[in-house]
Symmetry: C2
Subunit: 240 residues, 2 copies
DNA sequence: CGTACTATTGATAGATATCAACGCTGGTGG
DNA sequence: CCACCAGCGTTGATATCTATCAATAGTACG
């Protein structure tokens, strides 16, 4: 079962025909180096990118050169579905790590949306993306740095678990502390000190790409994490 | 022309039949007092609320009692379209000022989405809401307090202008400084001082409900405001 | 074996929160 | 009609959080 199917089945089961259709869109995937734009603000893309492996992000650059990362795109996530309605990209998308990506042409997407179960799952996915944005807004607006970071780490575990690319309470987090800072609205120095607090509390280990959550219950409690906003069914929540 | 039609026509023109259908959903509107929940986190609403007059907001309450406002809902905005896909509300919705609201039953919404032009306009509206959320994330994550507030004031002018309820560069902003703080991730004291900076710079006047932007070009420049993310067509942008 | 990026640390500056107090205003009950 | 009360805006003093600057060390990579 491909990763997209796995993600969409969290919403509701799909017929064999639906699954075959989903398989058929994942052909001719390409490899993309780390830190490469998949789409740039102002673009009018003609196909939709789906991440198969690796981490990508949505970001904006401010006039003074600062960057803010507004979303992480992990395997199973679509980059630019809005293309069908909104003319130009109002933000950019870039890989963070090396990625495997597949570009799905317009026609194929339309074919997908003609299947009610798939259309519903895609709509669910878009709404969850929006709910995640709202939670990020609260996170940045209200929580102080170490808690803010801890909250993100919980979210990522749940999201990666939903597509089965966690390893227990560990996962690959191929980003730098500077990138984490651009995500959390913090300087890289402050991220460093905040991460050290999480380490000292015995909540996590983070070395290279490997994020190990050593005390998941502690991390959830510390970060006030409540996964409701991800709207995962019971099935996905139980999957380890 | 009702306010919903006005908003949706910013995307593309609608047929007379479409307009009549839109008129038909705005019946039996009700008045709601200020500071009243229209939906509460955990609810499973059965109809969709549309704001006709007044300001409402999306918000979440944190375990320690803090509140974060994640969106302003102004006339023409739908509160809870996601109801069709996501079971329960992952946030609450409340009026800020006295409002006129209409509850649109499920069936009516389905009827609306059977019209291609209306369906497209509703989809556009949802995508713009999401783009707005991304811009708010950048705003809170990267800009300091007075600029952050200025940016919001620019956005509100553009949005209210799009539905024709501005008065030149002035509009009714029926919220307190504390509520503005809950929106911007700032304390009310700091909001107060930041607003004074905007006043001293000659950019705005704000007394009671009346927000007067006294130097719109200055405010746009100061806040680095770029309305691209609102994806308004040329028509809406030119409307005063 | 340089080179460049990343992580880390210390010192200092700046932004924002918190606490406390006061005046103003609008509503409300006597 | 007036006294009182509650909420809001405002101000000052102080504490806390976070950014910036600068330096060092580890690490990957050509």
């Amino acid at each position: 079962m491909n990763i997209l199917t796995r993600k969409l089945e969290a919403v509701g089961s799909l017929s064999d025909a639906d699954k075959r259709l989903l398989d058929s869109v994942i052909v001719r995937s390409r490899r993309v180096k780390a830190r490469t734009d998949l789409a740039t603000e102002g673009d009018v893309p003609d196909e939709v990118n789906l991440i198969l492996e690796g981490f990508a992000c949505r970001y904006k650059i401010l006039p003074d050169g600062r960057r803010h990362i507004m979303a992480y795109l992990v395997p199973g996530d679509f980059c630019d579905i809005h293309v069908f309605i909104l003319k130009h990209m109002d933000h950019s998308i870039a890989t963070l790590s090396p990625c495997k990506v597949v570009g799905i042409p317009r026609d194929k997407i339309i074919e997908l949306t003609e299947r009610p179960a798939i259309a519903r799952a895609l709509w669910w996915s878009a709404l969850v993306d929006e709910a995640t944005l709202r939670e990020w807004l609260v996170n940045i607006g209200q929580r102080e740095a170490p808690i803010r970071i801890a909250h993100l780490l919980c979210e990522l575990l749940v999201r990666l678990r939903a597509v089965g690319i966690n390893k227990g309470d560990s996962y690959s987090l191929p980003i730098t502390q500077t990138e984490l800072g651009d995500t959390m609205g913090l300087s890289s120095v402050h991220v460093n000190r905040s991460v050290q607090i999480l380490r000292e509390k015995g909540l996590i280990t983070w070395k290279g790409d490997q994020m190990v959550i050593t005390d998941i219950d502690g991390l959830i409690a510390y970060s006030q994490f409540n996964p409701n906003y991800l709207h995962l069914g019971e099935r996905a929540m139980a999957t380890r």
